[in-house]
Amino acid sequence: MELARARALFDPDRVRLEQHDPARDRTALRRLAVWAQRFSPVVAVDDTSSEGDMSPDGLLLDLSGCAPTWGGEGRLVEAAMKHLQRLGFNARIATGPTFGCAWAIARFGDRNASIVEIDDVRTALAPMPIAALRVDSKTIEQLAHVGIERVSQLLDMPRATLPSRFGETLLLRLDQALGHAIETIEPIRPVPPPRVERVFDGPTDRIEAIEHTVRELLEQITHEFARRGCGARCLDIELLRSDLGPERLSVTLGLPSRSPKHLWQLIRPKLERAHLGFGVEAIRMEARAVAPIRHEQAEHAHASQEASPSEADRAWAELLDTLGNQLGADRVLHAELRASHLPERAFRMGRAGEAPERVQAGVTQGDRPTVLFEHPDPVDVIALTPDGPVHRVRWRGEDLAVSACTGPERIGSEWWRSQEDGSDRSRDYFMVDVEDGRRIWIARSIQRERWYVHGIWA
């Protein structure tokens, strides 16, 4: 569909226009190829279809021997389809005895996922158009000129006449699809993660020796980072013990780092707590995740031009790493506002350093307390009328006279969330000023007829 037509047909807000960026497509496909290595060790980016401006849009996987680990080809295809959909891709998958056959069925077959058995190659290919044979548009045009539009028609022609009229490629592609010619693919080779290892002469349980070795390994691995122009986001250390399984220590970082001092600060407390067993035989260090860091000199040269993390930002990231590694990542938190009128759901605590969820939530209009109790505090209340203002409050053993009461503000439960017991969680909130000057937020549960203190303006 043309752009102008799409714009005329649909609501202009729903038509999003985006510039085609082949380089980005290529990078994304390569990343997807790395991801697809979970299905097969041999994965290649298919660039036969990249004609002119078109980006490559397929992956080729050599499944020889891989299907049994997934419980058959059918299961494998099913899993791949499910995972790709979860990643947000609409995929078409076909497996076949040859790459050419799978390519054709995936693109021109009538189902999203199909499996071609070894005996059905010819019958599966026969109804396909000529374009399914991965030949250039010129050859397709020439064939169409003489009335050949399907592979079956091509198969009926005498073989010997084809190369002289339509070139060598056509016959080669036909043979590749049928399995008569060999086809090789060029699999991607991801760079292995930086990794260093040191084996001791014999098991040792001397912590000084282990610490010294770890520091040496850190120097080595940071040297490797510098060579590659990257820094560690996640560093694993394995202590191979003589009598037990390996002890694994892992540190994660907010910003990539290749400073041995900072990494050592993160590792040391974990190393001190590590269980050494009867002795450590070898130490292995591997950076599971790395991210590029600009070279120091480049940073100085373009300090003002590009936004590179400043010293304060780096110090901040290091602080979060240190706190998270020492106290546990679940104890270093970040708050974000959520679009909910329920006070306990109006925010969410997440791990600091993780990308926030970007929920549309404005600043609350209503007055809310500065402290919200995680567990509302039961309270006894005297009110003159059932829905009327609060007159006296008995809270934590204190009998308090009320000097002013504002409310009720009714906050209903979220009907789109199913309540486990089908109960109504609506509450009436009162802002109550007690005589000694404190202001507390009292809620009355409508269904249970109970009063709680939910917050306080401390």
Partner: protein, 317 residues
Amino acid sequence: MRTGVRDIGGPSPGKLDELRASIAGLGRPELRSGAPARRLGTHASLDPWAILAQGGLHEWFGGDPEQSRSSKLGREVFWLPPLTILSACAARIVGTNPGRHAVWIGSRCWPYPPTLARQCHAVTGTQALLDRSVFIDTDTSRSARAKRVWAIELAVRCAGVGVVVADGSGLSMAESRRIQLAATGSSSSGGRSRPGTPVLIARPDSERRELSAARTRWRVCPLARSGTHTQNQSRDQGWSVELLRCKGLRLASAPASVREGTRRWTARRDHATGHITLESSARAESDGGLAARLVGGSVTPGRSVDTSHRQSSAKPA
């Protein structure tokens, strides 16, 4: 005949002052440079926000009204820091230091995030404070206090942190001195100096008699209100804020009533916007021209204002 004793003349007052200043500046990088001490204002017009924005340990007591502080059972367990004023301070400090972050240590000191965002919105027009806040939970075990002190010290020494708000219950003198040293920016090696970071520590009122190395001590009490039962008449909430101690605030001769009054403010919270304003209780009484002034960093122990040993009434002026 010439004797071995040289006549050096009478002690020159200028030289002696210089010597005194350099002795006082030992270990205090902000004074060592010889720059004149910052003048923060006369006593009559002390700006509490300016005092709090200075690097150092600022202790806050209370949150509970005076009259109910009498030995009630369970009151010690149920203690809440004066988070409204602490978050207003943090919003101001982070608002004036773009790019800096706020660290809230101890889950007792975590304000309700929507209120924090609203309060920051009232001060700076953005919700920057919430986006740049990190909340640290340390209350796990018996070593919770040690972890809190460790986290405070680590955060204070970080260049990306603008303000630290922490639960300081049970802090010992030595720990407070450690934090104070870290917060004023002096390094143990005596090398390069950093600008200090304000550390706002909340402590229960019962610890007011504990010794501490804090630069300032404050006390907050809700303002009791007379009046009767009225409905749907929301009024602005008020607190009395009292400066109990401020290192470096020298008092000159001023009537005691004025001195008392100038260290006390009334904080008002606007119900509609959440904005906090501080007004001096002694504005009317002050006649100006008081000689007292606040000098950043220079401490004269004998003359520093410290009324924390005195029983001070929290009744609003």
